[in-house]
C-alpha cells in the first residue's frame, strides 16, 4: 500500500501520521507542497496543522497550492484521500468535500479527548469498526463547526456519508457532547463516491498504547490489503 502525506509549511501533524503509517508498513512518501507531481499513491493524507498559518480561513490558502491540483485530480479518479483536522478544512476549501467549517461555537480553540460513534462502517475507512462503536479520539482545532445547507445535510444523512458523530462516553449523540457546535454533531463526512474522508478528530493520536487505547488504528488498518 503506497501512501503520500502532503506537507504544507505549517503542517504539524505530518510526522505523527508518518509514524503510524510506517508502523503499519505503508510505503509512505512525504510530499512537499511546492511539488507539481504526486508519487503513485493508493492513499493520500492531508495532515493537521496550520498549513499556511490559517490566517484567512483555515485551509483556504493550502487549497491554492501547487500540489493540490494533483490531489484534486487523484481524488476525482477515485484515489483514497483522508483529510484530518486542517486536512478536512483543506478538502472543503478545494471543493473535494462540500460544506463549511466555521469557528467553534464557543469561539475558543478546543483541544481534548472526545468520543465519536461510528454511524456507518459501509465504507473503506471504517469497515474495521463495528456500527455503533464508540471511539475515544482527540480533537484540537479552532474551526471545526461543520455547516452545510439543508439539501446537502439530508443527502449526507440518507446516503450514509456521515461515518462519525460526536457522542458521549456511552454513545448517545447529544448536544452536550458536541464540542464545537457542528451541525447534527457531525465529526466527519465522506464524498458521494466514498473515497474521500474529512474528519476533525485525530486518529493518529490514538494509535500508540503508551498514551491511548489505540482506537485510531483500525482506520488505517482498514485501508491495508
Amino acid at each position: 500500500m503506497r501512501s503520500s502525506v502532503i506537507v504544507f509549511p505549517g503542517s504539524n501533524c505530518d510526522r505523527d501520521i508518518a509514524v503510524v503509517l510506517e508502523k503499519l508498513q505503508f510505503k509512505n512518501s512525504m510530499v512537499w507542497h511546492k511539488e507539481t507531481t504526486l508519487p503513485k499513491s493508493d492513499l493520500i493524507i492531508l495532515p493537521g496543522g496550520f498549513s499556511y498559518g490559517d490566517y484567512l480561513r483555515s485551509g483556504a490558502i493550502a487549497a491554492k497550492s501547487n500540489i493540490l491540483n494533483e490531489v484534486i485530480k487523484a481524488g476525482k479518479n477515485g484515489c483514497l484521500i483522508i483529510g484530518i483536522c486542517n486536512g478536512f478544512q483543506i478538502l472543503i476549501e478545494c471543493g473535494l468535500l462540500q460544506g463549511a467549517l466555521l469557528r467553534n461555537s464557543g469561539l475558543k480553540f478546543v483541544s481534548k479527548d472526545i468520543f465519536v460513534r461510528v454511524q456507518t462502517n459501509k465504507n473503506k475507512f471504517f469497515n474495521k469498526y463495528k456500527n455503533g462503536e464508540v471511539l475515544k479520539l482527540n480533537i484540537a482545532h479552532n474551526e471545526g463547526n461543520f455547516f452545510t445547507n439543508q439539501k446537502h445535510l439530508i443527502e449526507l444523512e440518507e446516503k450514509e456519508l456521515i461515518p462519525i458523530k460526536y457522542c458521549n462516553e456511552k454513545g448517545s449523540i447529544i448536544s452536550e457532547s458536541n464540542p464545537n457546535g457542528s451541525l447534527n454533531n457531525i465529526a466527519g463526512i465522506l464524498n458521494k463516491n466514498k473515497n474521500i474522508l474529512g474528519m476533525m478528530p485525530h486518529p493518529e493520536r490514538m494509535a500508540d498504547k503508551i498514551n491511548s487505547d489505540q482506537k485510531g488504528l483500525p482506520l488505517f488498518l482498514s485501508l491495508m490489503n
Binding site: 509549511p9 505549517g10 504539524n12 501533524c13 510526522r15 505523527d16 509514524v19 493537521g48 496543522g49 496550520f50 499556511y52 498559518g53 490559517d54 490566517y55 475558543k108 480553540f109 478546543v110 483541544s111 481534548k112 482527540n138 484540537a140 485525530h202 493518529e204 493520536r205 494509535a207 500508540d208 503508551i210 498514551n211
Partner: protein, 730 residues
C-alpha cells in the same frame, strides 16, 4: 552632537552610567550608540542588580552540559540525548496586550531552545493574575490563555502543563512566564559563541519593523518631526513564520555550516550581535543597508533596537552561504549576509556608506555596570495562630470552598485551549503533579513541572525559596521520575528598593540551600525586576521549572486512584502548621505568620523512599501534599479517577482541621495494594520514614470516618464551578 541629560534619562540610564560610557568611548556617544548602550546595560540584558547574587546558585553537576549563560540550559539524559530548557517572563507586554504579549512570550522562549539545535517537545507556563474581582482580570485571563494557545498550537508544540494563580498583588502587574523544553543529540548542540575572522554574519527570518522600540527612547530628538506615525508598538507574533524558522534552522543544523547562532530576543539585533561577538572575543561589522526591513525609511536606531519577532542571527563557516540560502529559500524566509566578524573587537555599524557607530565590544558586555544594591532583611513575621479563637468551620464546608476557589479549581477551562497531544509523545497531560513526555521513538521519558508559591515567599523569602524548590522536586518524584535540574524565573519588584532587594537575596539563599542539598542544579533562568505599579511591588514570585527523567516507561505513575480496596498511606509527619495555609487565607482571610519550614533532610529521605517504592512497583498512584493540605490532596486523587475514599480519623489531633489542612512539607500520599503493605512497611521502617495509613479506596463516596460523606462527583462539580461561572458572568 552632544547628548542631553534628558535623553540619557529617557534611555533609562543614570548620569554616572553615561559618564562611564564616555570614558569607555573616549568621547561623547551619538544617539544610536546611546541606544545600543541603553539596551545592553539595562537590567534585562545586563543583570546588573542580580548577577552577584545569582552566582551563588549551584549550576553544575555531572549531568549539566550547559549551565546559565547560553540561550538555554542543557542536561544529559543518557544515550547521547540531551534536554534543553528555559523559562522566561513576558509580564509587561502581556498586561498591555494580553494576547500578543503572551503569544510572543511563547515564541521567544521557543527560539531560545531551538537556537541551540533542539527540537522543542513541550511548552509549560506559569500565569498569575490579579484578584478575580478586579475588572481587568477576566480580559487578561482570556487574552493570555488564548495567546499562549494561539502560538504553541500553531507551531505544533504541545503545551502540557503549568499553573494559574490569582492574587490581588498582581492586579496591575500580571505575570506570564513561559517555559520551553527541547530534545537534542548531545553531540549536535549549537552555541552563540562566535569564532573566526571574516566569517559571514547572516540575518534570517522575518523582516525588521518598528516593533517594541522603547517608548522612552522614541521620545528622543530624532523622531520629533513625525512622531505620531512612529508610535511605539507592541510586538505581534507570527507563529507561522516561527514554524518556518524552526524547521529551516533545524534543517540547516544537520549540515556542518553553522559556527554560531543566536536568536534576536529583547534588544534584537543589538544584543544578538554583541553577545555573539563578546563570547567569541571577536569584533563584528554590519552594513545596516542590508537589513531586511518591513517599513520604508527605517533608521539605524530603529533597526538596532527593534524587537520584531521570529528573527535569528547566524555566523556561517566559509563557503556555506549557498547551501544555507537554499534551505531558507525553501521555507520562504529572508536570508541576507549583513556583515562579517572582524579582529577589531569592536562593533562597527555602517549605513549609507558612513560609519554610524563604533564601540568596543567589551564596553557593551563586560564593562556593563554591576551593582551590589542595598538590601534589608525581610522580617520574619512570627506569630502564633490560635485556631481555637476562630469561628469553627466544618471540614467539608471548608473543602468545598477551597475546591471551588480560583486557585484550586479544575483548570480544564484553560488546558482545553492548549493542544496537549500534538507530536504524539505526551504520556501525561496537565492535571497531574508533573507532565510526562516520551523522547521520540525511545523507551524513555522526561517529566516537567512548573511551580511557585508567592504567599510563602512573601511571608518569608528564604523559607519560600527553599520550599518552592522542594515542591518542584516532589512533583517530579510523584510521577515516578528522578529529578534532574531546574530553570527559574524570578519575578520581583524594583531592585532599587532595599526591601525588594532583600527578598531577592534571601529567596536566592533559600533556593541555593535546597538545590545544593537535593543535587538539583539551576541550568538556566530569567530575572524580571520592576514588577510594580504606583511603586507598589508584587509579592516576590520565583517560578521554578523542573525536569526529571524516567529511564523506563514502565515506571511512570499518576495520581488517579486505581482500585477499590487499595490503601492510601501518607509519608511524612503532619505537625499541624497552619500559618500561611490556603485554609487560613481562604476561610478566615488571615495572611499572617511564617510559612511551613522545610527540613531538607526529611525532604530528601522521604522523596528518595517514595522513589524507591515506585521503582519497586509497590505504588499504584501517588500525589504530593501541597497547598490545601491532606484533604485537598486526597480529594484531587479521588476526583482524578472518580473513585471514592474512606478516610481514617486521626487519633492525635483534637482539631481535625489542623490535621487535614496543615501544610507541613515533605509529604506524599501513596496508593498501595493491601498485600504489599508489609513489604512497604519494612522498607520505610528501615529508612526511618514516618508513615501511616490514612484511607481506603472505595466506590463513589468521599468521606472521613464518622465525620462527613459526599459523592466524589459532587466534589468534581464544585471544582469545575469557578471557571464556568467566572466566564459566564462577565
Amino acid at each position: 552632537m552632544t547628548i542631553k541629560n534628558e535623553q540619557i534619562e529617557k534611555h533609562g540610564l543614570k548620569l554616572e552610567e553615561y559618564k562611564k560610557i564616555k570614558e569607555l568611548l573616549g568621547r561623547d556617544s551619538n544617539l544610536l550608540e546611546l541606544g545600543i548602550f541603553s539596551a545592553m546595560w539595562n537590567e534585562h540584558c545586563s543583570y546588573k542588580s542580580s548577577k552577584i547574587h545569582l552566582k551563588k546558585l549551584p549550576t553544575k553537576n555531572n549531568i549539566v552540559i550547559q549551565g546559565p549563560g547560553e540561550n538555554a540550559g542543557v542536561i544529559d539524559i543518557g544515550d547521547d540525548d540531551a534536554i534543553v530548557f528555559k523559562i522566561e517572563s513576558h509580564n509587561h507586554p502581556s498586561f498591555i496586550e494580553p494576547y500578543q504579549g503572551a503569544a510572543t512570550g511563547v515564541g521567544g522562549i521557543l527560539r531560545d531552545v531551538f537556537t541551540m539545535g533542539a527540537r522543542p517537545i513541550a511548552l509549560m507556563n506559569s500565569i498569575h493574575f490579579g484578584s478575580p474581582e478586579n475588572k481587568k482580570t477576566q480580559n487578561l485571563l482570556n487574552g493570555v490563555v488564548s495567546g499562549i494557545g494561539g502560538y504553541g498550537n500553531s507551531v505544533g508544540i504541545p503545551t502540557v502543563g503549568g499553573e494559574t494563580k490569582f492574587n490581588r498583588t498582581y492586579n496591575e502587574n500580571i505575570l506570564v512566564n513561559a517555559m520551553a523544553v527541547g530534545h537534542v543529540n548531545k553531540n549536535k548542540i549549537f552555541y552563540s559563541k562566535a569564532k573566526g575572522i571574516n566569517k559571514p554574519v547572516v540575518y534570517v527570518g522575518s523582516k525588521t519593523g518598528r516593533d517594541g522600540i522603547h517608548g522612552a527612547t522614541m521620545a528622543s530628538a530624532e523622531f520629533d518631526e513625525n512622531s505620531e506615525e512612529k508610535k511605539p508598538t507592541v510586538q505581534v507574533g507570527d507563529p507561522f513564520t516561527e514554524k518556518l524558522l524552526l524547521e529551516a534552522c533545524l534543517e540547516l543544523m544537520k549540515k556542518n555550516s553553522i559556527i554560531s547562532i543566536q536568536d534576536m530576543g529583547a534588544a534584537g539585533l543589538t544584543s544578538s550581535s554583541i553577545e555573539m561577538a563578546s563570547k567569541g572575543n571577536v569584533g563584528i561589522e554590519l552594513n545596516l543597508n542590508k537589513v531586511p526591513c518591513r517599513e520604508n525609511n527605517m533608521t539605524p536606531y530603529e533597526m538596532m533596537l527593534s524587537e520584531s519577532q521570529e528573527r535569528m542571527l547566524i555566523i556561517l563557516d566559509d563557503n556555506k552561504e549557498n547551501e544555507a540560502k537554499k534551505i531558507f529559500d525553501k521555507w520562504d524566509l529572508d536570508f541576507v549576509v549583513i556583515g562579517k566578524t572582524t579582529d577589531s573587537k569592536r562593533l562597527i555599524l555602517n549605513f549609507d556608506d558612513k560609519k554610524v557607530a563604533d564601540i568596543p565590544i567589551t564596553a557593551l558586555a563586560d564593562e556593563a555596570p554591576q551593582y551590589n544594591r542595598k538590601w534589608t532583611t525581610s522580617k520574619n513575621k512570627k506569630k502564633e495562630l490560635k485556631l481555637k479563637s476562630l469561628k469553627k468551620i466544618k471540614i467539608e464546608e471548608a473543602l468545598l470552598r477551597i475546591l471551588s476557589s480560583p486557585d484550586h479549581s479544575n483548570k480544564s477551562w484553560i488546558t482545553n485551549q492548549f493542544d496537549q497531544s500534538v507530536m504524539c509523545d505526551t504520556i501525561q497531560k496537565s492535571g497531574g503533579d508533573a507532565a510526562v513526555i516520551r523522547i521520540h521513538k525511545k523507551e524513555k521519558a522526561i517529566s516537567v513541572s512548573v511551580d511557585s508559591s508567592a504567599n510563602y515567599c512573601n511571608a518569608d523569602a528564604k523559607i519560600g525559596g527553599k520550599q518552592i524548590i522542594c515542591e518542584n522536586w516532589r512533583n517530579l518524584i510523584s510521577v515516578g521520575s528522578k529529578p534532574l535540574a531546574i530553570t527559574n524565573c524570578l519575578n520581583f519588584g524594583s531592585p532599587e528598593k532595599p526591601e525588594v532587594m532583600g527578598e531577592f537575596v534571601e529567596c536566592i539563599e533559600g533556593m541555593k540551600e535546597a538545590c545544593e542539598f537535593l543535587n538539583f542544579p539551576v541550568v538556566s533562568g530569567n530575572v524580571s525586576f520592576y514588577n510594580e505599579t504606583n511603586s507598589k511591588s508584587i509579592f516576590p514570585t520565583p517560578v521554578i521549572g523542573g525536569i526529571g527523567i524516567f529511564e523506563n516507561l514502565k515506571k511512570i505513575i499518576n495520581m488517579k486512584s486505581k482500585k477499590v480496596g487499595n490503601l492510601i498511606i501518607i509519608i511524612g509527619k503532619t505537625l499541624g502548621h497552619m500559618e500561611q495555609t490556603t485554609f487560613m487565607r481562604d476561610i478566615y482571610s488571615i495572611n499572617e505568620g511564617c510559612p511551613p519550614e522545610v527540613n531538607l533532610v526529611n525532604e530528601k529521605n522521604n522523596g528518595l523512599a517514595v522513589s524507591k517504592l515506585i521503582n519497586d512497583n509497590l505504588v499504584s498512584s501517588c500525589h504530593d501534599v501541597s497547598s490545601g493540605g491532606i484533604i485537598v490532596a486526597l480529594a484531587e486523587m479521588s476526583m482524578a479517577s472518580m473513585l471514592g475514599l474512606k478516610i481514617v480519623k486521626p487519633k492525635k489531633f483534637k482539631d481535625l482541621n489542623e490535621y487535614f489542612y496543615a501544610e507541613d512539607q515533605g509529604r506524599y500520599l501513596l496508593e498501595i495494594e493491601r498485600n504489599n503493605l508489609k513489604k512497604i512497611e519494612d522498607i520505610l521502617k528501615k529508612n526511618n520514614i514516618f508513615f501511616e495509613i490514612i484511607a481506603e479506596v472505595q466506590n463513589d463516596i468521599f468521606e472521613v470516618d464518622k465525620t462527613f460523606s459526599i459523592k466524589t462527583k459532587e466534589l468534581f462539580d464544585y471544582s469545575n464551578k469557578w471557571f464556568k461561572n467566572f466566564n459566564a458572568v462577565n
